[in-house]
């Protein structure tokens, strides 16, 4: 991880998530015991929180394109953050996540995910999102989240 450049306008996300710290990389210690991620960012666009992921070689598969697992982890983290924000950070878990892979992403690309909460019920949330590189759609997803204890 030598290329530490942060894409202009984006802030690296501070995570408390061991798996996401491994996947997105560890830039150093952050606030309240969290870890500043290397490849996972957010910003506000038109009043909504959007997310970015800049994959590296270690996120690629044998074909040299970004592994579906890395794309789905980016969806899970981004759509989950949108769900979590919508329930004032009550614990929530993924019930189902459906992904469509439309076109390949390569190491170095800047992937942007824009999640939308489509319905918020008492105990479940519906969130959809899309990942794009510039104008090109890379993947779309639908998900349902369960608010624990609700």
């Amino acid at each position: 991880m030598t290329d530490a450049a942060i894409p202009e306008g984006w802030a690296p996300i501070v995570t408390h998530d061991p798996f996401e710290k491994d996947v997105f990389g560890d830039r150093g210690p952050g606030a309240e015991g969290g870890t500043v991620t290397f490849a996972f960012y957010d910003r506000i666009e038109d009043g909504r929180r959007i997310f970015a992921f800049r994959p590296e070689q270690r996120h690629a598969n044998g074909l040299g394109i970004v592994h579906g697992g890395a794309i789905m982890t980016f969806f899970d983290a981004s759509l989950g953050s949108a769900a979590w924000d919508a329930v004032d950070r009550s614990p929530a878990v993924t019930l189902t996540l459906t992904s469509e892979f439309l076109s390949p992403a390569r190491p170095g690309d800047l992937l942007i995910c824009r999640p939308t909460v489509t319905r918020k019920a008492r105990s479940v949330l519906f969130v959809r999102g899309e990942i794009s590189i510039g104008e090109r759609l890379v993947a779309t997803a639908n998900s349902v989240w369960k608010v624990l204890g609700a």
Binding site: P18, R58, H59, A60, A70, D76, A77, L95, T96, L97
Partner: protein, 131 residues
């Protein structure tokens, strides 16, 4: 047919999140598994959905890959339903079955289990590249 690389040598992303066991003992049936470690957890202290979906993609994708003679292929859709949470030390096993194969597409379904109980169910479509 053997998988054309050793399970420990998967490059890139699978090496990052692994190790995952990928074997076909006696050439009979695939054995896919990983043991949940601290590095696979989310802040809730259970296995991260991204890890389970990545493993499911590997299990379904490897079975597809073998069915098409190890030609390059790519996931088109993958649907994952999370039935149960996993804790540190749980051995997560995976299996998959091809439901339909055409010249350019493969339909597959599978599941992940812990101690015989369903942890995740999945189905997907893979595209044979260039076909």
């Amino acid at each position: 047919m053997a998988v054309p690389q050793s399970a420990a040598d998967f490059p890139g992303f699978l090496g990052l999140i692994g190790p995952v066991r990928t074997e076909k003992p006696g050439g009979e049936r695939w054995v896919f598994s990983f043991t949940v470690g601290e590095q696979h957890l989310n802040p809730g202290g259970v296995c991260h959905g991204g890890m389970l979906m990545s493993f499911a993609d590997h299990v379904l994708g490897t079975v597809v890959w073998e069915a098409i003679g190890f030609k390059p292929c790519s996931t088109i859709t993958l649907n994952c339903d999370f039935a149960r949470v996993q804790m540190v030390g749980d051995l997560v096993e995976g299996e998959a079955t091809i439901t339909r194969k055409t010249k350019s597409l493969v339909f597959v379904r599978g599941h992940l289990t812990v101690g015989g109980e369903i942890a995740l169910q999945a189905n997907g479509i893979w595209k044979v590249l260039g076909a």
